[in-house]
């Protein structure tokens, strides 16, 4: 089975265990193995854009360097980890001064040259596995389910770095939903912010953002909202208790028939 380096991130070990577990199970069902890198550290949740912020980006660089040593593509599932690691990788590739300082920290023999390929789990499904292949492995299609993809900000922006999809009219999650036999609901707020970390200190602000997202999805007929980000899920659920928000890996595992029943 093909191995890929895997950076789960702290939330996937605590509040979002099902995001992690179903990602692993689905991967195995699809013929690849998420090989968790050793000694990974929290990515920090957000990428600090300042060029002179070094220390906060070191954990991401270490993860990138680990994947490079294994000569593997680095996969993340959480949108936030993905955003931070991809942006850090980009900075290592394009900002010489930054890269030099980072490598000074890492010390001789541990330098990282920016060559690791970073993919989101979704990208891996689309580009390496192929949604057609995914569709072939579906045993319990999500027939009749109206599912709205919620991208939020972190998966798509900044597009010049993330380069995952059209940032204004993305299709990657919709195509996955279709591959799983569901009906994809397209709505304009799928790439608008849920409020993110502002939930901690300005719950009203987060509420405003997440209620507009859910309202938009619903007005277009969505029954289920699917996301890749624990914080998006939290904000959407917290502020819209009636909304059904699930991780994409949840739906994936369900359709592939690897989601155990009952105690989850």
């Amino acid at each position: 089975m093909k191995k890929v380096a895997y950076f789960p991130g702290c939330t996937l070990k605590t509040k979002a265990k099902e995001l992690d577990r179903y990602a692993r199970k689905s991967a195995e069902a699809l013929g690849f193995y998420l090989d968790e890198i050793e000694n990974w550290q929290c990515c920090g949740g957000v990428f600090t854009t300042s060029r002179n912020e070094i220390a906060t980006k070191l954990s991401s660089v270490r993860a990138l360097a680990d994947a490079q040593k294994k000569n593997q593509t680095l996969i993340t599932v959480c949108s936030a980890c993905h955003n931070v690691i991809k942006q850090t990788n980009h900075a290592m590739q394009t900002d010489e001064e930054f890269a030099l300082k980072v490598n000074n920290y890492l010390g001789a023999g541990n330098e990282y040259d920016g060559k690791t390929k970073v993919l989101h789990y979704l990208e891996y499904l689309r580009d390496e596995v192929g949604f057609e292949e995914v569709a072939k492995k579906v045993v319990k299609p999500l027939t009749g389910k109206k599912i709205a993809a919620y991208y939020g900000c972190l998966l798509l922006r900044p597009n010049s770095v993330m380069a995952m999809d059209d940032p204004e009219n993305p299709t990657i999650i919709e195509n996955l939903i279709k591959a799983l036999g569901g009906e994809a609901v397209v709505y304009p707020y799928r790439n608008e912010c849920c409020g993110g970390y502002i939930a901690l200190e300005d719950a009203d602000s987060a509420k405003k953002k997440s209620t507009s997202v859910v309202a938009s999805a619903r007005s277009h007929g969505a029954e289920i909202i699917v996301t890749a980000c624990p914080l998006c899920k939290y904000n959407l659920e917290k502020n819209n208790p009636e909304a059904k928000v699930v991780y994409f890996t949840d739906l994936l595992a369900e359709a592939l028939g690897v989601k155990e029943d009952g105690n989850e």
């Binding site: 605590t14 949740g45 060029r51 922006r157 608008e192 939930a199 939290y234």
Partner: protein, 130 residues
């Protein structure tokens, strides 16, 4: 512009990598900003005020902590100005000072609920504290 502001301006420009002179004042950043209502100074004002050295009001504004870093302004700006990076650089210039953390570790327990993911806490700390 005072010498102090001039230094601050060049530090902000250097660390953000943003060139505010590229702005053509179309206001698309502000037109697209999801945190508009919470902000006192809006993205286009950050760009203009940094460029003209009128940075003092920004340093004391709650707007610094209302930006969601959602990058909508960065992606949609027709001139590639990247206002969010400027907001971040101004915020860092404040919270990097001794005792100027916007969010203190001691405050956090009171803000939590059972479902809140770790991600929210670490992100907020990254954004609001040093």
């Amino acid at each position: 512009m005072s010498k102090e502001m001039e230094n601050l301006k060049s530090e902000i420009i250097r660390s953000s990598g943003v060139n505010p002179k590229k702005c053509m004042r179309c206001g698309k950043c502000t037109g697209t900003c999801p945190a508009f209502d919470e902000m006192e100074y809006h993205p286009h004002q950050f760009v203009y005020m940094v460029e003209s050295g009128d940075i003092e009001p920004l340093l004391n504004s709650k707007s610094l902590y209302k930006c969601l870093t959602c990058f909508a302004c960065v992606d949609r700006c027709p001139r590639g100005v990247e206002p969010a990076k400027l907001v971040e650089a101004v915020r860092l210039s404040v919270i990097r000072k001794q005792g100027a953390n916007h969010l203190k570790a001691d405050d956090i327990p009171a803000l939590l609920d059972d479902e809140m993911p770790q991600q929210a806490i670490v992100s907020a700390l990254r954004k609001y504290s040093k």
